[in-house]
């Protein structure tokens, strides 16, 4: 069953504007937060069990605690780059509930002691950008941003910065480089952003959904928030479901929800006559699950990790039996090949190499040894680079080849897809 916190009022057009938002309880949690000590908010967020919704799932309160107490200015950056293929939940929130993000950011900024924030938004998101800018202007007019917010004595300025469409600018240090006006490529760690981030200053980067969730933690308390979800995966999560289901879309369910229920109940099941073949549960970089593995999968950090995959950004891609896995992997690898920033040799060369190998197979010129080569190349790309893009390319490659090896072998031997009805290779 859906439990709607973040998405409760998505279907009400007035929720987009400040007045409508306030009528529906907006900015009340902010007032509550201002009555609290910043440290107490951080504690509350820690207790709530909130984990980052951008992909890595790092405990948010713990991350905030890494900020050094050195009197330097701190920055709060909202990651609205939403580049992971299959992910579109942040977009929907920014379009339907921009004030929810703004409120979450003000509370978070107050908690971490930041007076300047940016929303780094994906280059293609023109409409959400305009909506956010309008909402920010409204918030400034209403004294919710700027100096002495609501008489609390707390100052916070917020801007929207539109990227240029590179996936790598969603990686937090790539985003920081881009925001600094440099080429958007990740920075070597250490130092980590919490210590030395934007302009060399302590910086917190959080996903849109993470920051918005903070509002509900304040509203409902840590225990109230923990009521949803599981022990290790607290709260609700927005899932972007795409692919071969009757009703693709964004659904908010408690963490720990059954994958098959998400597919069959929320999404209306598969198209008639189709059979489930596989699911990518957390964006294109998450290892794929076979239909059999899906049967008892639950949508939370621990269960998916146990199955060798991850919750990632919560982008669930449903693959039915009309899809060719060679074709799918080729499309995925094309993406990572195109998006690698190119700094690290294993990623720069490996993404291109993998893409070429799978393209060879797809065009009918593959060799049987290429199937093992995919695995070897991917193995040496993973965990060896500055950022996780290299892993993001390697993980699907390994899992596709391991779990659907017969499709790859058939393709190599026959020069065509094993899947009837799949588009034939066009060289």
């Amino acid at each position: 069953m859906e439990i709607k916190l973040l998405s409760e009022h998505y279907d009400k057009p007035e929720f987009q504007g400040l007045d409508g938002y306030k009528k529906l309880g907006g900015y009340e949690p902010l007032k509550k937060a201002f009555q609290m000590q910043p440290k107490a908010i951080i504690e509350m967020v820690k207790e709530s069990g909130l984990r980052g919704r951008g992909g890595a799932g790092f405990p948010t309160g713990v991350k905030w605690g890494f900020l050094p107490d050195n009197g330097e200015p701190r920055y709060l950056l909202c990651n609205a780059d939403e580049g992971e293929p299959g992910t579109f939940k942040d977009r929907l929130m920014m379009e339907r509930a921009p004030h929810q993000l703004i409120e979450g950011m003000i509370i978070s900024a107050f908690a971490v002691g930041s007076h300047k924030g940016y929303i780094y938004i994906r280059g293609e998101y023109n409409e959400p950008t305009a909506i956010l800018q309008k909402a920010i202007a409204e918030a400034y007019d209403a004294g919710l941003l700027g100096k002495n917010i609501l008489g609390s004595g707390f100052d916070f300025d917020l801007d929207v910065y539109q990227g240029a469409g590179a996936y790598i600018c969603g990686e937090e240090t790539g985003m920081i480089s881009s925001l600094e006006g440099k080429k958007g490529q990740p920075k070597l760690k250490p130092p980590f952003p919490a210590v030395q981030g934007y302009l060399g200053k302590p910086t917190i980067v959080n996903n849109v959904e993470t920051l918005a969730a903070v509002k509900y933690i304040i509203r409902d308390g840590a225990d109230g928030y923990r009521k949803h979800g599981t022990e290790k995966s607290a709260g609700t999560k927005l899932f972007s479901v795409s692919g071969n289901v009757m009703k693709p879309g964004t659904y908010e369910v408690p963490l720990g929800y059954k994958l098959m229920d998400l597919i069959n109940i929320e999404c209306g099941g598969l198209k008639p006559g189709r059979k489930l073949k596989a699911v990518i549960p957390g964006g294109s970089s998450a290892p794929v699950l076979t239909a059999a593995e899906c049967a008892d999968a639950t949508m939370d950090y621990e269960n998916l990790a146990q199955k060798g995959t991850m919750l990632g950004s919560g982008a669930v891609i449903i693959i039915d039996d009309t899809n060719c896995m060679v074709d799918m992997l080729k499309v995925i690898l094309h993406f990572y090949h195109h998006e690698s920033c190119g700094q690290c040799t294993p990623c720069r060369e490996g993404t291109g190499w993998l893409h070429k190998i799978v393209s060879s197979i797809y065009s009918g010129t593959g060799r049987l040894q290429d199937i093992d080569l995919i695995q070897q190349v991917a193995d040496h790309m993973a965990g060896k680079t500055i950022c996780a893009l290299s892993d993001a390319a390697a993980m699907p490659a390994v899992s596709f080849v391991q779990k659907f090896r017969s499709e790859f072998e058939f393709y190599v031997r026959e020069g065509r897809s094993k899947v009837k009805g799949a588009v034939d290779a066009q060289v």
Binding site: T345, I357, D370
Partner: protein, 517 residues
């Protein structure tokens, strides 16, 4: 100070030392392309992988600081396999250019391949095509297919020359080095990028296609281009010198040298040299033998001293010679002739005190300090204007000039030769063949001298650091050193090693094993 263990060997390092530096301290091998001790850490080649006990993930040595008690290795199968693959990733799109590549023989890719590789390539697909002969400016050519994107060159222009010409354009395996719009790679230190480029992607226009590096020998010496005295290696064969590269010396030049200094090999070579002694004036010259000229010089000096006193003889010295040569000449002049008629020819007074903030100094002589020390020691203080007055009054019978070794740093050469022509007899000693000297209008003997590449001796740099040069080639058989001239004139062996220099700081750079990439 934290202690760690590297491949079983214990080592103590200063706090903040990175693992790669600790490896270097132990002289222990570790593969790396992007790390350069003179630049910031990029951590992009991912070759310097090490295993640290207790950490399941391999770490890069260049960005990991040694912690007390760390147990580190880079010889486990896990690391070796990773390095082998790291190399493979560098090679899959690398062109098979070695037979026509200038870097062959000193290429880090070749070296690594011989150590870790030696297998058939795995990639069956076509390689990425990139731009091949990209003109980056007047000095450097880029081959993007050979580039391994280590970013050393970019970091150099950002951090050392601070000229920011270079960037990496595009991304992924389409990335290429390039210059920003309308700004070629044109600065006084640009060719250092060629040195630090681990492969044949950046090549020097001056050197490319001229020699296979394995046919060249090299010796450590000191750049004679200015008073900084950068430590360098000169590359040569029996035909002459071909190029100069910097050597590390933290006290003098760090890892770098300027591009002007790189041209200092050219004047050594035959085409620019005075090949034999000659006598004449105003463009009319006859060949001479060295012995003959020496005995004429000796006679002329003796006659002048006997008839009119040692005041009629004068010596002009430039900062282009070794301290030992100054000692010989001065001891001949002051001790033997009892003359203090010695003058310091400052070749470019207008820009003499300039400094570009990095290395290059306006004093474009290697040993002005050595000369000044010598003059000082003999109490010689006569200003240049004295010489001018005497010459204009026709008071100089015999003038000895130790002129330029590198005429390009003597902007007023012709003017000066016409001043010197006011002496009755001019003995012009120089390694260089110049039109200026040939235009002398008094009776002149030209005597070929040896260059810094043909003799040993000491240069004292602007800081007072003594540095040795050593002979490596013999370009002009009959060329002399000033010491040889002095000993011929005095009829005795002159002590070459007078303790000339005050406050001497010794720099044992000859045995210095710094360097590295």
């Amino acid at each position: 100070m934290p202690k760690c263990k590297i491949n079983g060997q214990e080592v103590e390092v200063e706090a903040g030392t990175t693992i790669i530096e600790a490896f270097k301290k132990l002289d222990s091998e570790i593969a790396h392309y992007c790390y350069h001790p003179g630049l910031s850490v990029a951590g992009v080649c991912r070759l310097c992988m090490v295993e640290i006990e207790g950490n399941p993930r391999l770490q890069i040595a260049c960005n990991t600081v040694v912690q007390d008690g760390m147990v580190i290795n880079n010889n486990s199968e896990k690391v070796k396999e990773t390095v082998k693959w790291g190399l493979d990733f560098h090679l899959i799109n690398h062109p098979l250019d070695c037979p026509i590549c200038d870097q062959a023989g000193e290429c880090e890719l070749q070296i690594q391949y011989m150590k870790f590789g030696q297998y058939d390539p795995e990639m069956a697909e076509p390689k990425v095509k990139k731009n091949k002969v990209v003109d980056l400016g007047s000095k450097i050519v880029l081959d993007s297919e050979r580039c391994i994107l280590c970013s050393r060159c970019v970091r150099f222009t950002e951090e050392v020359s601070k000229t920011n010409e270079l960037g990496i354009f595009n991304r992924g395996d389409r990335s290429e080095i390039g210059t920003f719009d309308g700004k070629p790679l044109e600065n006084d230190y640009a060719v250092n990028t060629v040195d630090i480029c681990p492969v044949g992607a950046l090549t020097s226009k001056d050197f490319r296609f001229r020699q296979r590096v394995w046919y060249l020998k090299n010796k450590e010496t000191v750049c004679p281009g200015c008073s900084t005295g950068c430590n360098v290696k000169s590359y040569y064969n029996e035909e002459g010198l071909f190029r100069v590269k910097p050597r590390q010396n933290d006290e003098v030049n760090g890892y770098w040298m300027c591009d002007k200094g790189r041209d200092t090999y050219k004047f050594v070579n035959k085409e620019n040299r005075l090949l034999e002694p000659k006598v004449g004036q105003s463009g009319q010259w006859d060949s001479q033998e060295v012995d003959g000229v020496m005995s004429v010089m000796s006679t002329k000096i003796d006659d002048a001293v006997k008839s009119a006193g040692s005041d009629k003889v004068a010596l002009v010295l430039t900062g282009q010679y070794t301290s030992e040569e100054y000692a010989s000449m001065l001891s001949y002049f002051v001790g033997h002739l009892k003359s203090k008629n010695v003058y310091h020819w400052v070749n470019n007074p207008e820009s003499f005190d300039e400094f570009d903030g990095l290395l290059l100094r306006g004093d474009r002589n290697p040993n002005t300090k050595g000369l000044l020390n010598g003059l000082d020691q003999h109490g010689i203080t006569a200003p240049w204007s004295d010489l001018e007055t005497k010459l204009n009054a026709g008071d100089i019978e015999v003038l000895l000039v130790a002129g330029p070794e590198d005429p390009s740093v003597f902007p007023t050469l012709t003017e000066k030769v016409s001043l010197f022509s006011k002496a009755k007899n001019l003995f012009w000693m120089s390694a260089a063949k110049t039109e200026a000297a040939d235009s002398a209008t008094t009776k002149t003997w030209q005597i070929p001298l040896k260059t810094y590449a043909e003799k040993e001796g000491t240069f004292v740099n602007h800081k007072g650091i003594e540095q040795k040069i050593q002979p490596m080639v013999n370009i002009v058989d009959c060329a002399q050193t000033l010491s040889e001239v002095a000993s011929a004139l005095s009829g005795q062996k002159v002590d070459h090693l007078g303790s000339l220099v005050k406050d001497r700081k010794t720099n044992h750079f000859i045995n210095h094993h710094g360097g590295g990439l």
